[in-house]
């Protein structure tokens, strides 16, 4: 499946958070997207946990955190 990518790097808070929220609002059941961000967004991850989204983080060599976020 071709996963959509939301690039939230190089933005001043809370813009990365807002980009992620916009992408979440468009997400249908079973869909997922990859969020690229400069650091581990603990507050966002807590909200995802609370609202029942799946998420899986991986680290790239340039320090970027890539988080695959899915709606079950």
């Amino acid at each position: 499946m071709n996963t959509r990518t939301v690039d939230a790097r190089g933005l001043e808070p809370p813009e990365p958070f807002e980009r992620a929220m916009e992408a979440l609002a468009d997400l249908q059941a079973g869909e997922e997207f990859t969020l690229l961000i400069d650091r581990m967004p603990h507050p966002l991850l807590r909200m995802l946990d609370r609202d029942g989204y799946r998420h899986e983080a991986s680290f790239r060599d340039d320090g970027t955190v890539a988080i695959l976020i899915g709606r079950p």
Binding site: P14, M40, G63
Partner: protein, 423 residues
């Protein structure tokens, strides 16, 4: 974090009132420090005057420590994934102990009241001990840090330096208050306490926070991995060696290690200024410029300290103190508060599923810019007052207004948060 109640994970973030009570109390201590400078024009004559000791502790244990602990309440869960046990209760008790302790200690030192010095130090140590225990518990329960960030490690190192600073402070308070004889000369112990406070605790915390906050809010490249890997551990190793050389009184070694400490501090300031020059921000905002001024003040303080190593003139250590406490820390802290407080109010509204206003509505640019300009003017006036003591009351007045204004600006963001939450 039970799967039956995923809401628990969200509860790890402390309620906004936990850090806010610290952020809103802090400027009151800066304001009182300004008033003491206003009414005691002779206090900058030497670093040992009662007034100077009081003002230093109003700044360090009052203003700085309040913001630092409030920020840690927020940073440890967000950056290090370390949730405080019972964050509201820890915040409540620590806040009261810290406030009473800092006020008591500053009053005792300023008025020469031994019982107030000891009571203040004990209250402060109790608050800090509780806070340290809660942080360590949170850090012990945190998942192992992932990624390349050195912030979680360096926050631990800073907390270790805070513990040592506190112990040294209590020993000093008892020595001063009860006339206790010590195996180490009193001025040596004061130097140990002061350098562990500003370079160990303050420096490591500022650096650990900067690794995250500077790239995040000032849109700069990340600090180089090699730099963040070595800076804090190297600083700690040199600090321990410097302390040993001081106690053993080995003159040449003290000088070499002092120079190394100054080199490490200037390395941090220069690296930060270099990153700022590569910021992707098209026009630097006021907090960005204030942070740069703070790094320049740090470089200036290092020059003053270097001269004080070879000169006996009493002005140099006072100038260094002004540049470190007001120039570096009050400047960097104000710049960070202006980013962190509106962001936290935004985050808490969003997490509560309330439509948050734009950040600029939570705290507009204009009052922030004007207050930070006043901060720069107050710093300039303090530097003039060190050289020309007759102008001390003017510097005091500017410092008092600076911190009153800082409080007013922070209250703006809090009011906007209340309005949005109750709309």
């Amino acid at each position: 974090m039970s799967s039956a109640n995923p809401g628990l994970a969200y509860e790890d973030t402390p309620p906004l009132s936990a850090p806010l009570r610290f952020f809103l109390t802090a400027p009151l201590f800066g304001l009182v420090a300004g008033l003491v400078l206003l009414f005691d024009g002779d206090l900058l004559a030497s670093r040992w005057t009662p007034g100077a000791l009081a003002v230093v502790h109003l700044f360090a244990a009052g203003f700085m420590l309040h913001v630092m602990l409030g920020a840690l309440l927020q940073i440890l869960p967000v950056v290090a994934g370390a949730a405080f046990p019972a964050p509201l209760r820890i915040a409540g008790v620590t806040h009261v102990l810290l406030g009473l302790g800092a006020a008591g200690l500053a009053f005792g030192l300023g008025s020469g009241t031994p019982s107030a010095i000891i009571a203040g130090a004990v209250l402060l140590a109790a608050g800090l001990g509780l806070f340290l225990a809660a942080s360590l518990l949170g850090l012990a329960r945190a998942a192992p840090a992932q990624g390349a960030s050195r912030t979680p490690r360096d926050l631990r190192l800073a907390l270790g330096a805070l513990a040592l600073t506190t112990v040294l402070g209590v020993v000093l308070a008892v020595a001063l208050g009860r006339g206790l004889a010590l195996p180490v000369a009193l001025p040596t112990l004061v130097d140990l306490h002061a350098v562990w406070a500003w370079m160990g605790w303050g420096g490591l915390l500022l650096a650990a926070t900067s690794w995250v906050v500077v790239p995040m809010f000032q849109i700069t490249p990340a600090y180089p991995a090699g730099f963040t890997r070595f800076w804090a551990p190297a600083t700690l190793v040199v600090l321990v060696s410097w302390s040993a050389s001081l106690v053993a009184d080995i003159g040449w070694l003290k000088l070499v290690l002092s120079a190394l400490l100054l080199a490490l501090a200037s390395g941090f300031a220069l690296q930060t200024i270099k990153l700022q020059r590569n910021s992707r921000r098209s026009t630097p905002d006021a907090p960005f410029r204030a942070f740069r001024l703070s790094m320049l003040a740090l470089l200036g303080s290092l020059v003053a300290l270097l001269v004080s190593l070879v000169s006996d003139a009493p002005q140099w250590p006072i100038l260094a103190g002004v540049l470190v406490l007001h120039g570096t820390f009050a400047g960097a802290i104000s710049a960070m508060l202006y980013k962190i407080v509106p962001f936290l109010t935004w985050l808490h509204l969003t997490q509560a599923r309330i439509r948050a206003p734009n950040m600029k509505k939570l705290l507009p640019d204009a009052p922030v810019r004007k207050q930070l300009r006043l901060h720069a003017a107050a710093l300039a006036a303090l530097i003039v007052a060190v050289l020309l003591p007759v102008t001390t009351p003017l510097a005091g007045l500017l410092v008092a207004v600076e911190f009153g204004w800082l409080l007013a600006n922070l209250l703006r963001a809090v009011r906007a948060w209340h309005q949005a939450a109750n709309a």
